[in-house]
Each structure stands twice: as structure tokens, then as C-alpha cells.
């Protein structure tokens, strides 16, 4: 909603500058989208008269003008075609600055020029640069052009949907009057008409409203013998200032009154109205109407139609029909001013994809008591500016006149909600300033009746909001909320996420965040999630953002792709993501962590160390660190196939049959379009499963007072015998003295150990918590372990 400062001053005295007004209304709830000065010409420009025009002796396109500011004439060189003698034009004298250009005394092709005559474009008034701006013959020569033309400020307001009363100049003037504490200072324009036609309007036209629910009020006036012509300059300027295009006097008047009063109006060419009749009815299904914009619409019974005896002539509240449009030939005008059901207008505007200044206001609700006033106002203007004659009376179909409802407000509740006491008198004062009528008042209660333009006020809380606005929200002191202990920590679902994040950051990984919405193909690729398990949108913006990510994998692959494309090859990244999928055995939404390792852990170093790249055991170690911190019980890691990873290069951590994490070297098909310099490792961690898995209590066990004894075992085995199986065999003997087993070497050399074989070496540590071990006992235990290994596994002890 745009207001013009000039226009506003017709209805209220604005005691503030435009900037101040913008600030005041901002704090009253009317946010400013923009402030623009219109019509302001640069200072120093004066009105000049061209006394004589002579051709420039040295240039065909230039003229020499003798210019006067009322006294001694001087010469100005001018290139405009219309610098004729006698014209009054803007002059930028020597010393004045226009834009970045300072006017100086200059010689143009040998002729002296004392200034510059200006076009509208040069003055910033319009794009017109065809010639000089020609001023009216009575423009005061020698005077300031800025003072002569005046200027205006246009403010663009963002009006919240609960305040349709602010969608007009009078509505905003009413707010200003309330804020200045002088609600009586609001001035409504006069509607008296001098040019009348004594014929009763209802003898010429009739109005029938078939759907009063959708059209609670319909008024019609008729103005005869109008002359269609351009509207006067002041009205055109006013409309242009708020962004409306002048068309002709009658149409401009309906627009002007719309912006003035907030009441949309429509003017029909009466002669084109078949049967001189208006019928307000629902359209029949399939009925067609060509609107003023030349678009043909096929309507349904959901759309309210203004019809004459034969056909639709306007889409009620939205746009007029082409068939009854005001044209130069129009002589008699039927002026519609009505109120329509907001929900119905919104539905029609939405289903047909049309939004107009009219529908915008009807959708939010117009003041039903303004309907007739606005009609009178427009009729008066048509008589005045289009030389029309107003026929006697009005047709006003208004079945249920507005009955103001009453709302009351307790001072105690005001204090409870605002935190400051406000006396009943003050409350009454604020509400009256807004145009509400106090119907009763005590020390504890104020009751008001609600005017038709404030239908948003239905409850006590609504009145308290008004009190807060006028009291001034910023006059309410802030008070720290009383201290309180929050709920138990385990009711706070953020701690686990924070802990996981802190740990991953502690492991040196950077945190990323990716989009939730992906294309179906991207979302499923490599995830092992079937397309029918993916949650798809019914109304996506694009096919690249059509479904919810079922896994954190696609996002982190994209992240890697971006970084590789930008030359970032050393990546340690993670993302904590909520993923969504319809899966048989998992919740619909769950928290996943994706991790990435690729490149070099120590690119900051040099030599061989610098070149050392991450391998799959780095990723395994990160996961071990993450799980170790949780002290989980019964975690196992075993090779596991997953479509994200290369065959034979991935594994899973599980606990009680649930997958906690899968990790491995990323399948080359997922990185085909990347120029990876190093192998890429990814882990997908089920964060919820980790937090739900059983963890051990942290109970102190005493530190051993007796020394340990180490014994090594070296063996040769087939390469396909996993380390884990050897460890399991060792531990499987449940030797009480055995404290730990540590792999310390792996050696592969065909010559030394044979083809397809490798040598593995372990240190076994023995300790008795109660006494010092003897060699004999250690040898006994160690010997048993060796024996069993040799017996149970296809190995050769060395």
C-alpha cells in the first residue's frame, strides 16, 4: 500500500516529516517497505523565458537563445528542437549541480553559454528527453522550479492481513490522527453534488442480489451525460504517485476513490447493460467472461458474477468485463460500490490467477459502512470532473445492516499480558483514539463497541494489543524472567546431538550442512534405499528438489564433489542430518551422521609424511573413537556389503543385531564425475542407534600392583585368514592370566613365507592381579595358546 504525503494531508495534519512519519507508524505496526521522493527537481533550477531564438552560426543542431529571468537577458546555447521564443522552460544557471554535473560558463562551438535549459529527464522527472520541459505560460519567471512544482514523498507500507483498514489514505490518516491523540482531526472529503438529474435512479435501473451471503451489500448510482476525457493533472499525478496508470476521468475517479477510501468501485457503461439491470449471482458452470485485461475466463458456480439481464458483465470484486467497459463514447455511467464475501473473492482470485487492487481489498474485508460514502464521493467527482449529472437517490441492497458488537477488557488482564499497569481511563483513551466507542467503563473494566472497519477486534486480547500499540511497546520495561531450573537433562533431546558434534569436531573433522530436498535419482543413488521408500513431495518446486533425503550419503557426496571441483582435496568432514524414509524396520525420521575422509592428514608437513593419504583404517579409527566414548557393550565390526562402497572394502559396526555404522571406500560409480586425487572414505552412522545401544557403567577397577610379562607369537597363515579370527581363537581359550593381545607386525613376502600367505606377529601380555608371575606359569599358559592356535587354525607357528 502506497501513500502520497500530499494526498494524506487532505485528510489529516501530519505533524511529522516523512521520515518521522515512517518511524512512528513502524512502531505502530505499519512497516515501511520504501520511501521515495517524487517530483523533486534539483535545487537552484529556475523558471526562465526564452525571448529570442537564433541559429548557431557554427552548428546546425544548436540554437542560440536569449533567456530572461525577469531582468537583463543572457545567451544560452541549446540543442533541443523546441527552444522556441516565448516558451517558459527550466534553466540550470551557472554554478548549479545536476546529478554529478556542475554547470559552468562554457563556449560551445565558439558561442558563450550561461547555463543549460533542461528536459524532464535531466531534472529526474521522467524519461522524456525529446525536448525541453515546457512549463505553463503562467509559470513565474525567475522563481525556483522546486517551489513552483512542489514535491511529494511516497511511502510504501507493508500492511499485515489483519488490518485491511490500512489499505487506504483515509485509513492511514485515521491511524495518524489516533497517534497524535486527536482522533477528531480526521477530515473526510465532501460529497455534495451540484449537478443533478431529478429522475429517480430506481426508475431507470434495478439491482437484484441472488446471493446475499456472497454480497452483503450492493449500491448503484447513475451519472448521466458524462464527457469521457483525461482526468485533471492533479488526479493523474496522485494516481501516478501511488503506481496507478491514468486511463480516463471516470476510471481514474474509481481508482482514486479506491485508494482514498479503500472501497473498490466499478463503473459500467449503462447503455451496454442489457435490460438496465444488475443481477448479482453465482456463475453457471462453464459460463465465460472476458475481463478488462482481454483474458477470457471459464467460470464455475464458485465464482460470483455481476450480470445484466443476459450475461456476465463483471467478475465480482475482481475485475470488470470488457463488454460494458467505459469508453470514449460512454455517456451514462452506472457506479457500483459493494461489499463481497472475502473468502469467496480470495477463492475466485486464486483459482483464476488474478490479483487486482480490488480483489486484494475484498479478500481482506472492506468497511461495509464505507460502501455508500465511497459511492457518493465518486459520484460527486464524476459530476465535477466529467460534467455528469447525478440521478436522484441510490439503489442500496443491504439486507443486514452492520450492528456493532461489543468487546470488553479488564485492567487486570492488561497488566497480566503487558506486565505494566494501565488505568481504565488510559485504556479508554487509547481505544477512543482509534475510533472505538466506549460503551461502559469502571475502574476494572472498559467496554467498547467496534466500528465496521475494525472487524479484527473480537476478543479481549485483541483490545489489549491495541492498548499495547498506543501505550508503546517500547515503553514496556524488560524484566528478566524469574529463575527456574529447567526440566531433567535427559528430557532435553539436544544433549546427545551436541555431544556427538563436539566429539567429531574434537576428532578434527569440519561440520557441513546440506539440503534436505533432492531429486529422486540423486537421493537414492548408492544409498540402498528403494525409490518407493523415499518420501516424495506432492508439489515440488523442481525435479531436483522433489523428495526428502533418505540418507545423508547424497549430500556428502555432493559436498565432496563441490570441494574436489574447487581444488580442495584434503577433506575431513561430517554432517549430522535428519533423514526420512518409509522403511519397514526403521523410524520414519532418524538422525544420521555422514563422515568423509580423503586426502592427506598432514599436508602441512613435508616429505613422505606429507604424501601419506588417509586409508580405510583411519575411518575405522574415527568410528572406534566415536563408539569407545559411548562405552557400548557388544559392538562388533565385520565386513559388510553396501552399495555405497567398493566390494571388499567396507565393513559395518553392529550391536545386538542393529547396524551402528557402515564405512568403506566409496564406490567409484558415485565419484565418476570427480577428479579425485586420493581414495575417498565415507562412514554412515546411525546416531539414534548409538544413543539407544546398551552402554556399560563406568566403575573403577583397581590398577594392577604386579608386573606384566610379555610373550610374542609369530605365525604364518593364508592371507584370507582374518586377524579377528586369530584374536578370537586366542581369547576363546579364556586364559585367566592373559591381559591383552596386540598385533605388532604383518609381513608378506613370497620368498620368505610362501605365496598367498602372510606372517602375523602378536604380543600377548600376561598378568596375575594377585602376585608376581613366574616364568613357569606364563610358559604354561602361553604354550597352551600356541598349541590351540596350531590345532584350530590353518597356520604354521614360527
Amino acid at each position: 500500500m502506497k501513500t502520497s504525503q500530499k494526498w494524506l494531508s487532505n485528510y489529516v495534519d501530519v505533524p511529522w516529516s516523512p521520515a518521522e512519519l515512517a518511524d512512528r507508524l513502524t512502531l505502530a505496526g505499519l512497516e515501511v517497505e520504501g520511501i521515495e521522493d517524487v517530483g523533486a527537481v534539483p535545487e537552484g533550477i529556475v523558471v526562465a523565458e526564452i525571448l529570442e531564438r537564433r541559429p548557431h552560426p557554427g552548428a546546425d543542431k544548436l540554437s542560440l537563445c536569449d533567456v530572461s529571468l525577469g531582468d537583463e537577458p543572457f545567451q544560452v546555447v541549446c540543442g533541443a528542437p523546441n527552444c522556441d521564443a516565448g516558451a517558459r522552460v527550466p534553466l540550470a544557471p551557472v554554478g548549479v549541480t545536476i546529478g554529478d554535473f556542475k554547470i559552468k560558463k562554457a563556449k560551445l562551438r565558439g558561442e558563450v553559454s550561461y547555463g543549460m535549459l533542461c528536459s524532464e529527464r535531466e531534472l529526474g522527472l521522467s524519461e522524456d528527453h525529446e525536448g525541453l520541459m515546457i512549463l505553463p505560460d503562467d509559470a513565474p519567471v525567475g522563481e525556483s522550479l522546486l517551489e513552483y512544482l512542489g514535491s511529494d514523498t511516497v511511502i510504501d507500507w507493508e500492511v499485515t492481513p489483519n488490518r485491511p483498514d490500512w489499505l487506504s489514505h483515509i485509513g492511514i490518516a485515521r491511524e495518524i490522527a489516533a497517534l497524535t491523540g486527536k482522533p477528531d482531526s480526521l477530515r473526510l472529503p465532501p460529497v455534495a453534488v451540484t449537478r443533478t438529474d431529478a429522475t429517480a435512479v430506481d426508475s431507470v435501473v434495478s439491482v437484484e442480489v441472488l446471493d446475499p451471503d456472497l454480497c452483503p451489500r450492493y449500491t448503484a448510482r447513475v451519472i448521466r451525460n458524462v464527457t469521457i476525457k483525461p482526468s485533471p493533472q492533479w488526479m493523474q499525478e496522485a494516481l501516478l504517485a501511488v503506481g496507478l496508470r491514468p486511463i480516463n476521468n471516470v476510471v481514474d475517479i474509481t481508482n482514486y476513490v479506491l485508494i482514498e477510501c479503500g472501497q473498490p468501485l466499478h463503473a459500467f457503461d449503462l447503455e451496454l447493460l442489457s435490460g438496465s439491470k444488475i443481477i448479482v449471482r453465482r456463475a453457471t458452470d462453464g459460463e465465460k467472461l472476458m475481463t478488462l485485461d482481454g483474458e477470457e475466463h471459464e467460470l464455475t458456480s464458485q465464482n460470483l458474477l455481476i450480470a445484466d439481464a443476459e450475461r456476465g458483465v463483471a467478475l465480482a470484486g475482481v475485475m470488470g468485463g470488457e463488454n460494458t467497459e467505459i469508453a470514449e463514447t460512454t455517456t451514462d455511467v452506472l457506479l457500483e460500490s459493494a461489499a463481497f464475501n472475502p473468502t469467496n473473492i480470495r477463492a475466485t482470485a486464486k483459482s483464476l490467477g488474478i490479483s487486482t487492487d480490488s480483489s486484494y481489498r475484498f479478500e481482506r474485508g472492506v468497511d461495509i459502512e464505507m460502501t455508500d460514502y465511497a459511492s457518493q464521493r465518486a459520484a460527486a467527482l464524476i459530476c465535477e470532473l466529467a460534467d455528469g449529472e447525478l440521478m436522484d437517490g441510490v439503489i442500496d441492497v443491504y439486507a443486514t445492516p452492520y450492528e456493532p458488537h461489543r468487546v470488553s477488557c479488564r485492567t487486570s488482564q492488561v497488566e497480566r499480558l503487558l506486565g505494566v499497569p494501565v488505568a481504565a481511563d488510559a485504556i479508554a483513551g487509547y481505544l477512543e483514539a482509534l475510533g472505538l466507542t466506549v460503551t461502559s467503563k469502571s475502574e476494572t473494566d472498559v467496554e467498547v463497541s467496534i466500528p465496521p472497519y475494525r472487524l479484527d477486534l473480537t476478543r479481549e486480547a485483541d483490545l489489549i494489543e491495541e492498548v499495547a500499540r498506543l501505550y508503546g511497546l517500547n515503553n514496556i520495561p524488560g524484566q528478566p524472567a524469574p529463575a527456574c531450573v529447567g526440566g531433567p537433562m535427559d528430557s532435553d533431546c539436544y544433549y546427545p546431538v551436541e555431544a556427538a558434534r563436539a566429539q567429531l569436531l574434537g576428532l578434527g573433522m569440519d561440520e557441513g550442512m546440506t539440503y534436505s530436498l533432492l531429486g529422486l535419482e540423486t537421493a537414492t543413488r548408492g544409498t540402498g534405499v528403494a525409490a518407493d521408500e523415499v518420501v516424495k513431495l506432492a508439489n515440488p518446486l523442481s525435479s531436483e528438489a522433489a523428495c526428502m533425503r533418505p540418507s545423508v550419503l547424497p549430500g556428502i557426496i555432493q559436498t565432496v564433489g563441490h570441494n574436489i571441483a574447487h581444488g580442495n582435496h584434503d577433506l575431513e568432514l561430517f554432517e549430522i542430518a535428519r533423514v526420512v524414509a518409509h522403511s519397514a524396520d526403521l523410524p520414519e525420521e532418524r538422525n544420521q551422521v555422514g563422515m568423509v575422509l580423503t586426502g592427506r592428514p598432514h599436508s602441512e608437513r613435508f616429505g613422505a609424511e606429507k604424501q601419506q593419504a588417509y586409508d580405510v583404517y583411519d575411518m575405522k579409527g574415527v568410528l572406534e573413537g566415536l563408539l569407545e566414548e559411548r562405552r557400548l557393550v557388544g559392538v562388533a565390526c565385520a565386513p559388510a556389503e553396501h552399495p555405497a562402497f567398493e566390494k571388499g572394502a567396507s565393513a559395518a559396526f553392529t550391536c545386538e543385531g542393529k547396524t551402528l555404522a557402515v564405512f568403506g571406500e566409496v564406490n567409484a560409480s558415485l565419484t565418476a564425475d570427480m577428479r579425485l586425487k586420493f581414495p575417498l572414505f565415507v562412514a554412515l552412522v546411525e546416531l539414534d542407534a548409538i544413543f539407544e545401544a546398551p552402554s556399560s557403567e563406568r566403575v573403577y577397577s583397581s590398577l594392577p600392583p604386579f608386573p606384566a610379562v610379555d610373550r610374542d607369537i609369530s605365525l604364518v597363515a593364508g592371507k584370507d585368514l582374518p586377524n579377528q579370527q586369530i584374536l578370537d581363537t586366542i581369547w576363546g581359550q579364556k586364559q585367566k592370566l592373559l591381559e591383552s593381545v596386540e598385533l605388532f607386525d604383518i609381513y608378506e613376502d613370497e620368498g620368505a613365507v610362501g605365496a598367498g600367505k602372510r606372517s602375523l606377529a602378536y604380543t600377548l601380555t600376561y598378568r596375575d592381579p594377585k602376585k608376581t608371575l613366574t616364568d613357569e606359569r606364563v610358559n604354561q599358559a602361553h604354550g597352551k595358546i600356541r598349541k590351540t592356535l596350531a590345532k584350530q587354525l590353518p597356520i604354521e607357528l614360527r
Partner: protein, 339 residues
């Protein structure tokens, strides 16, 4: 005999002198060979002992041994001296070589704001609550007093699922879920991801993060809201930040406000970040609408409450002067490493 004794003692003195000035281990070894080596001075002198009388030999033997020990001790001293001089003579480490780094990772700017906000509100007694991203119309709109034909429900603005559910457009539905399951008093904050059907550009993203706050108790007022948000602003952005309330409209609060922080870039003087207004629009808040209390079965005559929201991306962008929201989702490690 006396001569031989003198020669031995002279050899000891010479050896001591030579060893005291030996510059390195090679010099010491040279001395050792010269005096104690098989063809050295001491064995040479000792061989002459054969010419002595048997009576004289033991005494001379004792003297010779003493000299030998003395020389050996001088050798040991010299070696110890040279060993102790290592720092003086060997090369120093180049401490300007790069360290083997063990750095922390970088927390995403969105997480930084969320974690900070959570920490601040926890100090005020708030607990974090959570709800699903896939919401029902009831929790996202109906229970929040949003009219049936409110534009925010449009398929142009909200993502819907084929089953009629939607992607939550705000974290406010968590309020309803908590109030349905908990008697007052309630103090919660809900950080989380939200979705709107906005075409992506420098300031819009189809998914973004919000933090919602709700405080319901007896006699909670706008003054409390102001107090809590002031603490938040000061803790998050510094003690100079001012808070401003403007009236606004939301279906789920009455009175409704929007709140602004004074611009942290220009300290309220006006700059391009705050569009010369001196204020940064943060988000909306207000007193819980009685209709919302009715939806969850709280008696508005007993309980009052405030709710507030904030956009996490917006705060992160203000905090770090980030001009394009898309940078936050690109995860360029050179970007992430800046925070």
C-alpha cells in the same frame, strides 16, 4: 729406578695436559694410543721394569698402575667433558618447521548459532524439545489458529506430501506437541529445520533453521518476553545490542510483535546491512493467543505465555557478514574453516 719413576710421572702430566685440551673424541683416542696403546709411552716404560731388581719391581709396578689409572681417569674426564658439550657443537633443531597439527574441526555457523542459543536459553531454565519434520496440517496450522484460507497454507508456499501431511514451515508445531503432553509451567526452545516453497536465491532457501521458544506460567507478560530476548541479544551479540518491539500480526499470538536488534555493524547509525534503519529485523513473537491455549486445553484465565521465533541462518549471516545463504549449504572447506 728413580729415573723411571720420574718418566712415568712426567708421562701422566703430559697425558693430562693433552687430554684436557683434546677438542674431540678423536683427539682423546689419539692420546690413549700415544700413552696407553701397545706401542705407547706407558707400556714402553713398563717394559723397562724388567731391568730392575726384584725388590724394586713391586713398588715401581704400583707406581705404573697408578699412572695408568690416572691417564684412564683423564681419558674418561675428557670424554665426559666432550659428551657434555653436545649442545655447543652439534646442530640445533629447526623449530620453524611445521608442527604435526592436531586441530579441532570447524563447527558450522548454523550450529554455532543453535548451540549458543541453546546454551543461553538453558541458563534461563529452558529445555530443548523436538518434533518431526513431516508434520500434519493440524500441528503446523490448525492448532496454531491459522485460518483455513490463510495464504501460508497455499501449495505455492508449503510443501505437501501425497498423504496430506506437510514439511513443517516453522518450529511452532513443537509448541503444540509439548503443551498437549505437559501441564504448565512450560519453558522450551525448539531448534530445528523448516521448509518453505521459496525459489532459492541469496536470502531464500527451501530449507532453513528456526529456533522457537515458549514460556507458559502464571502471569507471564510481554515484559518477561522483553527481558528474556534482551538477555539473549546481549549474550549472543554483545552487551551494546538494543532490542526493539514493533506491533505485528501472527495468528498464534495476540498481542503479536516483531523484534529488532540494533545493527551490530554500524551500532545503530545506519549502514547497508540494516538498510540505513539502524535496526536488524530478527523475527516475530508475542503472547500466546487464547485460541492456541484452547487447542491444547490450557485455561487462558490461569495461564499466560509468550512464544518467539528466530531464523538461524539470518542470525548467522548477520554475525559473520555472510551475504548469500547458499554459501551455508555448499560446505566449501575454505568457507567452513573461517568460522
Amino acid at each position: 729406578m728413580v729415573k723411571l719413576q720420574h718418566e712415568l710421572e712426567d708421562a701422566l702430566a703430559q697425558a693430562r695436559e693433552a687430554l684436557a685440551s683434546a677438542a674431540n673424541e678423536a683427539g682423546v683416542e689419539e692420546c690413549r694410543i700415544r700413552f696407553l696403546g701397545r706401542k705407547g709411552v706407558i707400556p714402553f716404560l713398563m717394559r723397562q721394569m724388567g731391568a730392575l731388581s726384584p725388590d724394586e719391581r713391586p713398588l715401581m709396578g704400583k707406581t705404573a698402575n697408578g699412572v695408568k689409572q690416572g691417564i684412564q681417569a683423564a681419558i674418561d674426564d675428557a670424554l665426559a667433558r666432550l659428551a657434555g658439550d653436545v649442545s655447543d657443537t652439534s646442530e640445533a633443531l629447526d623449530m620453524s618447521l611445521p608442527g604435526r597439527r592436531r586441530t579441532l574441526g570447524h563447527k558450522h555457523p548454523i550450529s554455532q548459532v543453535m548451540d549458543d542459543a541453546v546454551a543461553i536459553f538453558r541458563r534461563l531454565g529452558f529445555v530443548v524439545a523436538d518434533g518431526p519434520d513431516l508434520e500434519t496440517e493440524y500441528y503446523n496450522f490448525d492448532a496454531l489458529n491459522t485460518p483455513d484460507d490463510h495464504p501460508s497454507r497455499d501449495i505455492q508456499d508449503t510443501f505437501y506430501l501425497p498423504d496430506g501431511r506437510l514439511l513443517r514451515t516453522q518450529t511452532s508445531p513443537v509448541q503444540i506437541r509439548v503443551m498437549e503432553n505437559q501441564e504448565p509451567p512450560v519453558r522450551i526452545i525448539c531448534p530445528g529445520r523448516c521448509y518453505r516453497r521459496d525459489t532459492p536465491d541469496a536470502t531464500h532457501s527451501m530449507n532453513f533453521h528456526q529456533i522457537e521458544g515458549l514460556y507458559v506460567d502464571k502471569n507471564v507478560s510481554l515484559a518477561d518476553l522483553k527481558g528474556v530476548l534482551t538477555v539473549f541479544a546481549h549474550e549472543l551479540l554483545g552487551p551494546d545490542v538494543e532490542l526493539r518491539f514493533r506491533p505485528h500480526f501472527f495468528p498464534f499470538t495476540e498481542p503479536s510483535i516483531e523484534y529488532d536488534f540494533s545493527c551490530i555493524m554500524c551500532k545503530g547509525k545506519g549502514c547497508s546491512v540494516c538498510k540505513n534503519s539502524g535496526w536488524l529485523e530478527i523475527s516475530g513473537a508475542g503472547m500466546v493467543d487464547p485460541a492456541v491455549f484452547a487447542a491444547v486445553g490450557y485455561d487462558p484465565e490461569v495461564w499466560t505465555g509468550f512464544a518467539f521465533g528466530m531464523g538461524v541462518e539470518r542470525i548467522a549471516m548477520i554475525r559473520h557478514a555472510i551475504s548469500d545463504i547458499r554459501l551455508l549449504y555448499e560446505n566449501d572447506v575454505r568457507f567452513l574453516a573461517q568460522f
